[in-house]
Subunit: 99 residues, 2 copies
DNA sequence: CAGTGGTATAGCATTGTTGCTATGCCCTGG
DNA sequence: CCAGGGCATAGCAACAATGCTATACCACTG
């Protein structure tokens, strides 16, 4: 994967400023959520523009999100989930037990 | 529930401006996450100040979060989860199937 | 080769969350 | 009665995500 963008630098800066681990996890979570949305979108055969319209965003915002360019906010995740007809799950899980 | 705060008005404004449903869901999610954190914190017998220190926040930020005063960001949720020794789970779930 | 659709980036204004400090209320213990 | 701990709010500065417009690149097609 080439470093065609400037975002990696932005993330690195964030990591250096705070405690690294937490910011790093957030960036990784952003990346994985982006990939998940991209998969769901492509599975439906939608273009970024279509998803954007369905979720009240613009194509550029969708592209930025799918690339993991920023850590998404919960309102945005909810709108994407609604548009893709899936449910968003945000919860805390004990580390030592299931569920 | 008493309306001792000003936050309900803020949420109402957000709901009125956008599409209502999405913003409403985000506010409810914020509220439930706040309650979850409060439970985990009290279960550990921690004060807001202790949790704040453990998660790199201030007591006021913890109070605001537990009250559902703002929709938390993922970095904050990660830090709280780490401090409370639980794992944060953010994912999309199909509406028609399990897992 | 021009035209079109899909995607990636850039730049900027707006908006909202967080960080921080200070303060007020309630309750309990001395 | 007064002091202190715990929690709720306020106000403001700083920062980061979103909204939006415009543009560039690529693949495909007429």
């Amino acid at each position: 994967m080439g470093d065609r963008t400037d975002w990696s630098a932005m993330r690195d800066r964030r990591m250096a400023e705070s405690g690294a681990a937490e910011a790093y996890d957030a960036a990784r979570l952003a990346f994985e959520l982006g990939r998940a949305v991209r998969e769901l979108r492509e599975r439906r055969g939608w273009s970024q523009s279509q998803l954007a319209q369905a979720s009240g965003m613009t194509q550029s915002a969708v592209a930025r999100f799918e690339a993991g360019g920023t850590v998404p906010t919960l309102p945005v995740l909810e709108r994407l989930a609604a548009a893709l007809d899936v449910s968003l799950n945000v919860s805390f899980k004990p580390r030592d037990a299931a569920a």
